[in-house]
Symmetry: C2
Subunit: 343 residues, 2 copies
């Protein structure tokens, strides 16, 4: 009726069959917002950072400020907010139990908070679970009904797609592959136990093995390392050294790869997935990991089991955002009578 | 029309809503047939044995002979045959890949064979998977939607109920919990790798630890052991010795219990089940295992995860038969429009 000609044309036609989702990937040091379409494409993006010790109020205010930047011309067309959050949570309630890398989120009713702030329906799940979902819908695992996703960065996380759906268990966290004990006489993990996968194959573990190598061979200087051997060695420096043929660095990556292969074999023997997808920073060195992983998996697989393709993630840093948007789309479709990914 | 008065009254009324199943549990040395009703009750039973090196033809003939004993008065009323078979198989085809304890079944089209012989529809699945299903429907896990079943006998096997259904993965075997590596620097397993759960907690592992203890302390004689220390020690003898307070025997069971706890923690952190059910011969010594298992699981569980009840199986030796019958009933219900346990 009023001033129709002046209304801004929407960038994307938003009909009930083509919803848009607001997606949030909330990491330990950075957060990213995006508007995602039903084809998994990111239409608008905005990001921000948090610092150690940030309060919940300050982080929420910063999140909202950045969100408003991309909401200005899309608010009315969004079907909901999907959020990937770090740490164990209860997706059915959108409640975060604990966020080891972002402690201000401990015991936080995330869903209720954002539903009040944005007047949008909100769904949230663990970031690694949602990366698995994103990869299954729009990434390396398109069409797979049974898929294991591992993310190897500072820590090790994971997510499972089982029988076509994001596996959520009986409530609370699942797919904590980083704390699968595979070497009960192995090195201590930050969780207090010995021989978790994370203590053997994460970026932190690679840096620790490098520090141990330095202690054993004091003159060792990984190639590409700036400033000689002072200060802690990073996983990236070990990767550079391994690529230049440094034997200690090659051995460190081989040990990480063997640990990943043991964990992957356990997951194959437990879940018989069609595909294993590796994401996260450490797997940006696939040349140093994948050949050993594949060789060890083939050598160790039990009779009767298939060795599934072991591939790197396709969506990179966007997997969590895309998976978070899928929560919204699935709810939307769920209302139309089909299955939702979260049960 | 003819001699109605002389027809034998059926023992159980078999209407389409109350089907009966013929069930088979085919073990490495014994096999058992039963007729099972939709309430999980065994109405008729018959059993037989096989010897090492038996040929497939001879075993099949013996199976059929015993089956005919209970089929005589029930043949017309049965909805199908459900079979629990040892070793990895493809339940969608009823095909056995390999049966380590019954090699004459290797590469056997079990379903086709029995459909031809009995003129009944046949479903088959792995015995540990079906024990999990039996326990969920009629045993210790009644009503659980997410359940992990472990069977600890000569070897270690398992089965998962996830999202209310027997988990079958992408085809072929699943839930091989016995070959989850939890101690990569541990003792060798018969599968060729090191530190599988089976090498640490099975009856075979307990006997091996006892033999090692004997070698270290030659005069050791587990209480209740007949004939002194000659001949191999059995897990049962170690259990008897542990109950009488023998320190070496107590330590052996404690080591097995700690390995089981590590494996159970891994499964809790991966799958977040509502319940853990322990079956098999070794768990007939729950007093020697469960207290240590529960204590270790509570001590090691990650924040955010619930410790589910850890209980012993309720159906005993009948779990596989009851689970096998469920395959038949589920197919029956599946036709009526509801879900089947096998997808």
């Amino acid at each position: 009726m009023s001033a129709e000609g002046l209304a801004p044309a929407p960038a994307v036609v938003d009909t009930p069959s083509q919803p848009l989702a607001l997606a949030l990937d909330l990491g330990g040091t950075r957060f990213r917002w995006a508007i995602v379409d039903a084809g998994g494409r990111l239409l608008r993006r905005a990001e921000g950072a948090s610092e150690e010790g940030i309060t919940r109020a300050r982080l929420m205010a910063r999140l909202e400020e950045v969100a408003r930047q991309i909401l200005a011309d899309h608010g009315a067309a969004l079907a909901g907010l999907g959020a990937a959050v770090p740490g164990p949570m209860d997706p059915s309630r959108g409640y975060i139990y604990a966020a080891p890398n972002l402690p201000c989120l401990d015991a936080f009713d995330f869903k209720r908070y954002w539903e009040d702030r944005l007047s949008l329906p909100v769904w949230a799940a663990n970031d690694a679970d949602l990366a698995a979902l994103g990869e299954q819908r729009f990434g390396a695992g398109k069409g797979a009904q049974h898929l294991v996703y591992l993310t190897v960065s500072t820590g090790v996380g994971g997510g499972f797609i089982l029988d076509g759906r994001l596996y959520q268990g009986a409530g609370g966290p699942v797919a904590e592959v980083g704390h699968m004990v595979i070497d009960a006489q192995g090195p201590p993990c930050r969780c207090g136990r010995l021989g978790c996968l994370e203590a053997l194959a994460s970026g932190t573990a690679i840096a620790r093995m490098a520090a141990e190598a330095l202690a054993q061979r004091p003159g060792w200087s990984p190639a590409g390392r700036e400033g000689g051997i002072s200060g802690p060695v990073t996983a990236e420096q070990v990767a550079t050294a391994a690529r230049s043929g440094d034997d200690l660095a090659v051995d460190i990556f081989a040990r990480a790869a063997r640990a990943l292969a043991t964990a992957i074999l356990n997951l194959i023997h437990l879940l018989a997935p069609e595909m294993i997808i590796l994401g996260g920073g450490v797997t940006r060195a696939p040349d140093l990991l994948l050949p050993t992983i594949r060789e060890q998996v083939i050598a160790g697989v039990l009779p009767g089991f298939r060795v599934p393709p072991i591939v790197t993630a396709a969506l990179g840093d966007n997997a969590g955002l895309v998976g978070a948007a899928c929560l919204v789309f699935d709810h939307y479709r769920g209302r139309a009578g089909t299955d939702s990914s979260l049960r």
